[in-house]
């Protein structure tokens, strides 16, 4: 075991725990347990809000998967990754103040509360809850497997122990601290991600002999690596541009991001979060993917993309600093799974249990229910992650684009289009998810665009057409 690398990781875990237990104080003394546990009493300031959005969004793929692909494909993949700059400002500007105000009027604590009040439809609630539970559960499992593999490769522990350490540490602070712990630890993790990116970028450029040297080495190996078209000229402009929907504007439809847009204190917090979020997400995405490309001359011949980032870190940095930098992907994974965990738990407790099973549960029952549901989900995920069933692996492939196709229009048109009604919403959710899964299986990347594009367009058209067709008998929504 390499203690110089492990020590910073342990310090990092310790800080995370401290924050979790500190948040527990708020959970214990809050007058409104549900709002505190699942939404931090809408008290997030600008910095925390920005960091929790960036950290929730930035996952294993930003720190491990993405740089690995950039290593193989070259600068074209960095160009693609930069579509994510838009998430920094677009989500908060578009959902923005309207969502914050309406969510307060509806007293909504979860995204589904908002949809329930807006569309007054049991079907909308059940479809939303089912998609959140199924798809986020799978993607949580996948991220957890990624986290455990990382711990395994850094510490040399067997996979099972690595998984237990990783999952155990996330579970403890989420169960005791709720949303506030998630958001505060996200802030710490966001800072770690930012610093890790900065240190590794500088070290990689130095190790490669400066940017001009790195670029000419790349061009000498394969000129396409420094073109926007990818190593084999396979990245067409249409395909790369369609990622603006998947990882840019479509992020508005991801429930784990959307719920954060109801958690902030006031419009000042939102304003500074937009600025901080754009800077941080832009820097991390540009930095990490650029690191992936620059790694190529420094550690040539790596076959498995996922190993590029850890290998590079160990090679270009002294062990103790490497430990700090490797805390960044750990932070990225933890901050994604903690958000998913609390969200899945809120869908079960708040959206299903309290809506349909036991509407008049007492405060004490709700508390017990929330803690235990969160714990049970976490433990279930451990079992799934130990021997991942094919179904989970398969579902995870759809979770990002699938959830976007389900939620983007019911959320946006629900906010901004008075005539949108429940029939439109139900059709667009079913069609969005259905067509995403079908197209992915039968006809991926239709018209040279990423698979997500067609379902998003279909669900928009169906939402509008069906809403118009069913205007009679449903009143236009009153709170506009």
């Amino acid at each position: 075991m390499n203690w110089a690398v492990i020590t910073p990781l342990l310090i990092f875990l310790f800080i995370i725990f401290a924050v979790g237990f500190w948040s527990n104080k708020f959970v214990l003394k809050s007058n409104s347990f549900l709002e505190e546990y699942f939404l931090g009493e809408r008290q997030m300031g600008g910095f925390i809000l920005a960091m929790t959005m960036v950290a929730t969004y930035g996952s294993a793929s930003s720190f491990i998967g993405g740089p690995g692909v950039a290593y193989t494909k070259g600068l074209g993949w960095v160009l693609l990754a930069m579509a994510q700059l838009a998430t920094g400002y677009f989500v908060l500007m578009v959902l923005g103040k309207k969502f914050a105000i309406v969510a307060r009027q509806y007293k909504a604590i979860t995204l589904i509360d908002f949809l329930k009040e807006r569309y007054k439809s049991k079907a909308v609630v059940l479809i939303s809850a089912a998609s959140i539970i199924i798809f986020l559960f799978s993607s949580m499992t996948a991220q957890w497997i990624g986290g455990a593999r990382l711990v395994e490769s850094l510490t040399g522990l067997p996979y099972t122990y690595a998984l237990l350490i990783f999952v155990g540490s996330v579970l403890i602070f989420v169960i005791v601290g709720g949303f506030r712990a998630v958001a505060l630890t996200d802030a710490v993790q966001g800072v770690v991600m930012f610093m890790g990116t900065l240190i590794l970028l500088v070290a990689t450029i130095k190790a490669g002999g400066g940017i001009p040297k790195i670029i000419s080495d790349l061009a000498a190996e394969n000129p396409n690596l420094i073109s926007p078209f990818g190593a084999d000229r396979e990245l067409t402009p249409a395909y790369v541009s369609s990622f603006w929907i998947l990882v840019g504007v479509g992020v508005v439809g991801l429930p784990q991001i959307t719920v954060r847009a109801m958690s902030y204190k006031n419009s000042k917090a939102m304003h500074s979060a937009i600025i901080i979020g754009t800077i941080v997400v832009g820097f991390i995405m540009l930095g990490m993917h650029l690191i992936g490309v620059f790694a190529r001359p420094v550690i040539p011949g790596v076959k498995i993309g996922d190993t590029v980032m850890p290998m590079l870190t160990m090679k270009v940095l002294p062990p103790f600093v490497a430990g700090i930098v490797l805390a960044a992907p750990m932070a990225a994974i933890m901050s994604t799974v903690d958000a998913l965990l609390i969200l899945v738990s809120s869908a079960i407790v708040k959206d299903i249990y309290l809506n349909y099973i036991k509407p008049h549960a007492s405060e004490g029952q709700i508390k017990k229910m929330s803690f235990s549901v969160t714990a049970i989900i976490g433990i279930l995920v451990i079992f799934f992650a130990l021997t991942p069933p094919d179904l989970i692996v398969w579902l995870n492939l759809f979770s990002f684009g699938g959830l976007e196709s389900v939620f983007i229009w019911p959320v946006i048109l629900g906010l901004y289009w008075r005539k949108g009604n429940k029939y439109g919403a139900i059709t667009s959710m079913v069609l969005g998810m259905g067509s995403y899964i079908l197209l992915d299986r039968l006809y991926p990347n239709a018209f040279g665009l990423h698979t997500v594009v067609v379902p998003v367009v279909l669900s928009l058209i169906s939402f509008v057409v069906v809403s118009f067709a069913t205007q009679q008998g449903t009143k236009a929504h009153s709170s506009f």
Partner: protein, 87 residues
């Protein structure tokens, strides 16, 4: 209509306009300059010009535009009903 919603709608449109500008800048420089033969690329700070303009300068410009939009176009509004103009 709630007065605050007018402000909110305006700001949502600003978000959309910024994304459009971002996309055009990104696409224009990325594929405009990047489509030339690699041997004819020019370089800025060691990076190919298409990449520098599209991804580095583009990000900086977007960050500046976002800051300007928030500072000068976005308005503070209260979120709770009792403090604001109730419809």
């Amino acid at each position: 209509m709630d007065k605050r919603f007018k402000i909110a709608h305006r700001e949502a449109w600003i978000g959309v306009i910024l994304v459009v500008i971002n996309f055009i800048w990104w696409y224009g420089f990325g594929y405009g300059l990047g489509s030339a033969k690699v041997e004819q690329y020019s370089y800025i700070f060691g990076l190919p010009a298409w990449f520098f303009y599209s991804c580095i300068l583009g990000s900086i410009i977007m960050i500046v535009l976002v800051i300007l939009a928030v500072k000068f176009l976005f308005k503070d509004v209260p979120f709770e009903d009792e403090e604001g103009d109730v419809k």
